[in-house]
Symmetry: C2
Subunit: 328 residues, 2 copies
Amino acid sequence: MKIVLIGSTGHTNYVVNGLKDNYEDQIVGIAPGSEGENVDSLYQKLAKDYELEKYNDYRKMLDDLKPDVAAVACHFGDHAEAAVEVLNRNIDLFVEKPIATTLSKLAEVKKAYTNSKSKLASMFGIRYKPWFLTAYKYIKEGAIGEVRLMNAQKSYRLGQRAEFYKKRESYGGTIPWVGSHAIDWMQWLSGKDFKSVYASHSTKANQNHGELEVSALCHFNFEDEVFGSVNIDYLRPQNATSHDDDRIRIAGDKGVIEVIKEKVYLINDEIEGSRELPLVANKEIFADFLDWAKGQGECLISAEESFRVTEAALQARESADQKQLIQF
Amino acid sequence: MKIVLIGSTGHTNYVVNGLKDNYEDQIVGIAPGSEGENVDSLYQKLAKDYELEKYNDYRKMLDDLKPDVAAVACHFGDHAEAAVEVLNRNIDLFVEKPIATTLSKLAEVKKAYTNSKSKLASMFGIRYKPWFLTAYKYIKEGAIGEVRLMNAQKSYRLGQRAEFYKKRESYGGTIPWVGSHAIDWMQWLSGKDFKSVYASHSTKANQNHGELEVSALCHFNFEDEVFGSVNIDYLRPQNATSHDDDRIRIAGDKGVIEVIKEKVYLINDEIEGSRELPLVANKEIFADFLDWAKGQGECLISAEESFRVTEAALQARESADQKQLIQF
């Protein structure tokens, strides 16, 4: 398959890692997806392994190279526009989250998707980490019974972020950018759909990062009186042992499962005390997507889930902006 | 000092433990605080160490014995009525949380308190656990800077609860009964006052416990755009290593502190990685209260905090009942 990259800002490493030891599929082109985005360094890195062309205009690249798959990962506020261009050409789309940074742009992408023959998945790559895959496996096997209550965490180091992070228009907000992973875990692991959200966010203590929110809290209600919180922050000290501190705890009517510090713990009535679960193997999100694009099995992330989580994240941000409860 | 007990339902062990190795202050009486409450077993236990009288009517006990201090710990729906009787007699009051199970009853207790000379503290005894005292000490010393985001957890085993837990009228609800501890930690550890709350709760999976809510989630907004969540459940499996799994994580602008599994961890820019903090000594809540009652220093829990946390818990329950955001 012929693959192109639009942008070099988000998780383009998913594409590179997903093609490791794959000599069949080729990256054939790269172009910026946003004004002022410089893709030179990724281009030079890829040029060692691929015969690829660099374009200034991604539309021209799509028309010239007629790729099978496009990966979009530019400034977050421009994901939607690039996505629509890809979908309008019936090219399969692997798109950084959030798919769009406004609900109206999201509606445009959805419409383009509905009218296209493309496959689509958003880059919820943390699902593929062994600890999350392990939690998923045990929950699906019934280890905690029916899910009742979920609490997820995203905590990052802030460091010094690029300029586009400092404007809502280009960045999209911390709930969509950082939080949408955790919002995705909750939908995916519980199998429950969103009903409402109440959220809060604050730019205080953001160390001169303009409009970037450094703390946020979301309260989702799901079907069947299932509740889920997400706490999000960029307050993790630079001295911490890792960039992130991803967590989720899920209490069901038959047990409690927890992902913390890259491990998974289960307590239920069959287990004395708490048991650390053996981890299933890592998977590569882009390899999974490519298999799907080739008609070999399903991708773990569906287009419907990708859209729904994006919507949920944008509604949460809206709730935080308006300080109001929002019904889905 | 002469001490009496009204009820034997809640944490009367606080009183007993707080008097250990204290040969000066005496428990002189005990009476039920609720219809159908049986205090015989506690009476017999106490009779080994104290010359105390058992009454059927706590009002008569208060009038006959004229105690200095009354501890109220009956069915939760009856705390307020007993509290008012104690306060009207200018007796110092050590009262189980929640002080009241409705806002109107809370107002009655507040009024009686304002008109009395009594000292008052509510039984937020978990504050006195070494791990919480340690977190408090480090936060006050500036280890995490300004508090920005808090996430607290209360998780209990359900087991088989007494009948009065199964009715809102006598039980008061899971947010006030279980959750108020965590609501108290947030106010105490951050020093910030409540601004609004959105909460949810559910009786699903309550194993025939009537109106008892088994899962709950609260989202508080505090002053200065500080946010705090509390997740509450009775979903902890019977096989778990402890009855409860109390936690709090607090992210500040200079570090993150966490209480989990009776330990305290700190990360900040002075510490490489995560550091387990040395624990300060345990304290006894009732001993602290008695010292205060005797005019020897302040109690760690003020009357104002006791009332404010009760109000916050009742507003959270109201929010969950009404499915609406509530401003304080």
